[in-house]
Symmetry: C2
Subunit: 119 residues, 2 copies
């Protein structure tokens, strides 16, 4: 769990946790106007909208908190569903750190840095 | 100060601290093979080689620790000396997060994500 001003949010269905997100400033001091968030969804509960609900929640909260933008630091470039999801929410790929993510099979893939302004 | 496996290093001249760097894995788990480092040099002692010494130290240490690459997340794009310094040490600009850094005068500049492999 992040310390304040960071926060952790869970998506539940009844008593079942489907996924979670932690959010907070991406950097402190002169970078604290940009939010960061990182998500987990239980693979056993994928495809049920938990990721989308958490994503929309984070955008609302970041806007309400007065952040000027939001940035993700580690979106697996081979996770096409996630990349398409964030693109549909107006995120742009700032760049891709090569070979930064190790897949369970041992191959390395790139990690996108994704960003959007909060109007 | 970072907790292990992170570490903090200072550059000294006699009893005077000229600058410091903290380094550690940029992400945990499937991203822990990429190091991260962030530097501070006392402006009163700029131009005396502390930044270069710390940078070269970090490259040696990261290589010795077995990292496959090293990444910086926040290099002010208007800090041309720093950008040129890292380019001379074979770092590439992966991308630039727009308006992510607030200058003391209130303007916003971009932050480069920079990366190099450790052979």
């Amino acid at each position: 769990m992040l310390r304040a001003p960071g926060r952790t949010v869970v998506a539940v269905e009844g008593a079942t946790v489907l996924g979670s997100v932690k959010m907070g400033p991406n950097h402190r001091g002169p970078g604290e106007h940009v939010a960061n968030a990182s998500f987990m969804v239980d693979p056993a509960h994928a495809g049920r909208g938990a990721g989308r609900a958490l994503g929309e929640h984070v955008l609302r909260e970041a806007r309400a908190d007065g952040y000027r933008a939001i940035q993700f630091n580690a979106v697996d470039e081979t996770n096409t569903a996630a990349v398409a999801h964030w693109r549909s929410l107006e995120f742009a790929i700032v760049g891709t750190v090569p070979a930064a993510f190790r897949l369970p099979v041992g191959d390395y893939t790139g990690l996108h840095v994704m960003h959007r302004y909060l109007g």
